[in-house]
């Protein structure tokens, strides 16, 4: 399910079947050109990836709106905020909360998060709309589905 009216109506009727939330994390920062470009590619990729993932597992996951944070922000503050998100969602009750990111800096703080961090190495070569990229994304999605299914069991 996506965060949109039509999907939510289905969600309300079948709440007991939808027990997983995916939150895409996107860093933002425009101080350095190179870093900004990297962050933008990450944003595009993670949007694409999360939508494809949502398509595969529509009936069991809710794709939350993108959580964006400043690249320069203090991680502890962000972690506290992210944990507030997780707590809010777990009350609903969603059993599984996944944070989806390309930003390796979260890996260090994984223990402090009250959700499951899914960190993926970003693919930064090639055009987003190329056939190869489509294939890569599809393969990545396939593996993420496997991973998420492992948590469901």
């Amino acid at each position: 399910m996506k965060w949109r009216k039509a999907d939510l109506q289905t969600y309300f009727q079948s709440k007991e079947y939808i027990d997983t939330v995916i939150v895409p994390l996107i860093p933002f920062g425009i101080a350095s050109d190179v870093e900004a470009e990297k962050a933008a590619i990450q944003a595009e990729m993670i949007t694409l990836l999360s939508h494809e993932l949502e398509k595969e597992l529509t009936g069991r996951i809710l794709l939350a709106p993108i959580y964006s944070y400043l690249k320069s922000a203090d991680r502890q503050t962000e972690i506290a905020r992210m944990n507030m998100w997780s707590a809010e969602m777990k009350e609903q009750p969603f059993k599984h909360v996944f944070m989806l990111t390309f930003d390796p800096s979260w890996k260090k703080y994984e223990q402090e998060l009250e959700s499951t961090l899914l960190w993926l190495p970003a693919v930064q070569t090639g055009e987003l709309n190329s056939k190869e990229m489509q294939k890569t994304v599809r393969e990545q999605v396939g593996q993420m589905v496997e991973l998420i299914r492992a948590y469901w069991q």
């Binding site: 079948s14 079947y17 595969e56 597992l57 529509t58 009936g59 069991r60 589905v145 299914r149």
Partner: protein, 170 residues
């Protein structure tokens, strides 16, 4: 010699020209109402909506295979390229069957033999939904209807697929 060539008089020349130009203008005036009147005939048939999915008919076996293609879809505000997928195989009667992979329970994507425990079935990873090879839902599992089947056509040895159509209870 030059006398013989002058067979068209000035009056005739004018007549010919005026008839020609007048006829052309009349045709121009008439064409739009006529076009409008027969408009439905000029529209492409619905078969034109079927998309070539890039699969040769000869490559279709009795083992379901997943194919992916894109179509242009206009949906309110958005015109977008939409990815579609299907599971295609040949059944016992040698007919081509193309199923939509969208689970009839809550819309996850099913895969052929997606679970080791359930060989020879379509499997939905979200809530253990299952379907037999012919697309009918396994009773007792979450889905309540068979998988949708695509409209299809074979042209020049290639498979064309249209819209997925729901099938009744089997």
């Amino acid at each position: 010699m030059s006398d013989e060539k002058q067979q068209v008089s000035r009056r005739q020349f004018l007549n010919y020209t005026l008839t020609g130009v007048g006829g052309f203008m009349a045709a121009g005036l008439l064409i739009s109402p006529i076009r409008m009147a027969i408009d439905p005939v000029l529209k492409g048939s619905s078969a034109g909506d079927l998309a070539n999915v890039g699969l040769a008919v000869d490559d279709i076996t009795s083992e379901p295979q997943r194919i992916d293609w894109t179509i242009d879809q206009v949906d309110g505000w958005y015109e977008s390229e939409v990815n579609r997928s299907a599971w295609v195989y040949r059944n016992e009667n040698d007919e081509i069957v193309a199923f939509s992979p969208v689970c009839k329970h809550l819309g996850c994507v099913v895969s052929w033999e997606g679970s080791d425990q359930h060989p020879n079935e379509y499997y939905c990873p979200c809530h253990d939904g299952r379907y037999y090879k012919d697309g009918t839902n396994v009773p007792g599992t979450p889905p309540l209807a068979p998988l949708d089947e695509y409209e299809q056509e074979v042209k020049d040895g290639m498979l064309f697929l249209g819209e997925p159509k729901p099938r009744g209870e089997a």
